[in-house]
């Protein structure tokens, strides 16, 4: 197995796939668009991860180090794919750095793009500095500066987290649940309450999807231990009275209009398909599913496959995904690649 396998994308799924392939003795070419490995958790500066509670820089940083230390993995950053032709076992790969490689297979771990809240102008992002996204709050926490109002650096006394920003919204063509925002928001709410015990945190929801075991450790823990308040309302608009933000909506459980002042409003932003997916689909000759994510082959018969043989996929490239599941899918994709390569070897031997 002298030929390498292309792993495209150096996030949790790509790091996992590259590590698993190299661990099994397979040469890997890991290509990353950004200037460093780690994907969204590192590039966007996530703080403590769900559900481990480990800091992203330690957990994902550890995966990066593991890949960097592996001699069978060649890492190329600041680099993308220009062209990709051939058949399973023998693809010609042209990179934007001008080099050409022969690869036996490709694993697309191209992830997602954070929703841009400017596309929901009624919720004030881009208009008021104290309207921020979950990603920004993660950065405030991971930088060690703590959660502060960007306008004047004060500690917020009241924080509202709006769920489903850029998810479950036909108005803007995003008819999917981004899966992790409820849990991440509950996690952020608890961290704010821990750091700023006097700060009241409200979560405005349509329904709460802290799925599986997160029910106890996030949904109920946030209420029972941290007294985070959940209000069933989709906020109509976020405005300002010049001093504080004003949040308007209807509390649907008590049928009462609400107009409440807040110091900070946090958008729990969803996961869009990677903004480059059309390019990726054209270059690799794979199809996208109707929402714009990479289309998966059948999980039952061709796990980790795409619509093109020899091209595999893992992680949030196929739809909103958790970090843990992305890592699992990376490993699954590695297994699928090795299976394809050994099947080819056996066929050649017969």
């Amino acid at each position: 197995m002298s030929e390498a396998v292309l792993v495209l994308g150096g996030g949790p799924a790509g790091l996992s796939a590259a590590h698993a392939l190299a661990n099994a003795g397979q040469k890997v070419l890991l290509v990353e668009k950004a200037d460093r490995l780690g994907g969204a958790p590192i590039l966007s500066g996530y703080a403590r991860l769900v559900p481990s509670g480990e800091w992203a820089r330690d957990a994902i940083g550890g995966m990066v180090e593991r890949v960097r230390a592996q001699p069978l993995i060649e890492c190329l950053t600041d680099c993308t794919v220009a062209a990709f032709d051939g058949a399973p076992g023998d693809f010609a790969l042209h990179l934007t750095n001008g080099t050409t490689h022969r690869v036996a297979a490709a694993v697309l771990c191209t992830g997602f793009t954070h929703f841009d809240s400017v596309n929901k102008p009624e919720w004030g992002f881009g208009t008021y500095p104290d309207v921020v996204t979950t990603t920004q709050v993660e950065q405030m926490m991971s930088s060690g500066k703590g959660v502060r109002c960007p306008s004047d650096g004060r500690e917020p006394a009241r924080v509202a987290i709006l769920l489903c920003v850029g998810s479950r919204d036909r108005q803007i063509g995003r008819e999917w649940c981004s899966k992790i925002c409820c849990t991440v928001s509950a996690n952020i709410a608890m961290e704010i309450r821990e750091a700023l015990p006097k700060c009241h945190v409200y979560i405005y929801y349509m329904d709460i999807r802290t799925f599986g075991l997160y029910e106890g450790t996030y949904y109920w823990e946030s209420q029972e231990k941290y007294r985070v308040k959940y209000i069933k309302a989709r906020i109509a608009e976020v405005t300002s009275d010049g001093k504080r933000l004003i949040v308007k909506g209807e509390d649907t459980l008590v049928k009462r209009p609400i107009t409440i002042p807040f110091d900070m409003v946090v958008h729990a932003i969803g996961m869009d398909p990677n903004i480059d997916n059309l390019t990726i689909a054209a270059i690799f000759g794979v199809k996208l599913e109707k929402h714009g994510y990479l289309q998966k082959a059948s999980s039952y018969s061709a796990m980790s496959g795409t619509t093109r043989p020899g091209v595999f996929v893992a992680g949030a490239a196929t739809g909103p995904e958790t970090i843990d599941d992305s890592i699992a899918q990376g490993q699954a994709a590695a297994m699928a690649v090795l299976g394809q390569m050994r099947a080819a070897l056996r066929a050649a031997a017969e």
Partner: protein, 250 residues
């Protein structure tokens, strides 16, 4: 009115315009002002903790608003305004003013405990109703109900003597609630008792009514009970951020 029929338009937010002409159009009549911007400042952020500090309210934080309590409620079947699910929500969010709108029906809980057995989260809604009625009283939003007065007279007498003497209990209860002892039904009850009870028993009742006998060795037990009650009262008032009670219960 059942909650799903509740209107956002409330009588107090209606403006009656007897004669209003805008741009030549007569728009006289009732105007709803519910869409007027009003920044909510009436939240009592401590309300959930306050209720949780009172006996029965301990598990209010578990509620997930499924409505099992209201659905199983005996009183709700008769009075759709009686909605434990709704009140629990108001308390958890601190909507004090909204809760006070219903202060005169919350005490109507009959403690049948159907909700206790229906609740999937073990909130003990019946206890929450008790705690809420207690909270309303302590905060001075409601006057003690006759049942509460009866309980107080009853327990005061137990604390004092370790015994219950019915005649004294009824006299105390009637006096505290402003009822006359000459109520027709009461007079007939007493007359019936006097004419039918054996003489020996009547004599003992009469003696007890005059002497107020105590349970033997009552002093120490009484001390333990009154200390406990006083301690609880101090805790409850502190949790509700009320000044210490001026009059200590005997």
């Amino acid at each position: 009115m059942p909650i799903h029929e509740k209107s956002l338009i409330r009588p107090e937010s209606l403006l009656r315009q007897e004669k209003l002409v805008l741009d030549g159009v007569d728009v006289s009549g009732d105007w709803s002002t519910f869409i007027e911007s009003r920044v909510v400042t009436d939240y009592n952020e401590q309300m959930e903790e306050e209720i949780a500090a009172l006996p029965g309210g301990e598990f209010i934080h578990r509620c997930w608003q499924c409505g099992s309590c209201t659905n199983s409620c005996t009183v709700n079947a008769i009075n759709p305004e009686f909605n434990p699910r709704y009140w629990i929500y108001l308390i958890r969010l601190g909507m004090e003013q909204e809760l006070l709108r219903d202060k005169d029906i919350i005490w109507q809980c009959v403690s049948c405990n159907k909700c206790t057995y229906a609740c999937p989260r073990d909130v003990m809604p019946e206890g929450v109703m008790k705690a809420t009625a207690h909270w309303l009283e302590l905060k001075g939003h409601t006057t003690p109900s006759p049942a509460m007065v009866f309980d107080e007279v009853f327990s005061d007498q137990v604390f004092a003597t370790g015994k219950i003497e019915e005649g004294r209990l009824m006299r105390g209860f009637f006096a505290r609630t402003g009822q006359k002892l000459t109520e027709d039904w009461f007079v007939r009850l007493i007359r019936g008792l006097v004419t039918r009870l054996p003489l020996g028993l009547l004599a003992r009742l009469g003696w007890a009514a005059v002497r107020h006998p105590r349970t033997r060795g009552w002093r120490r037990r009484r001390q333990a009970m009154t200390d406990y009650v006083a301690e609880q009262q101090v805790m409850h008032r502190a949790a509700l951020r009320l000044p210490p009670a001026t009059e200590r219960r005997r």
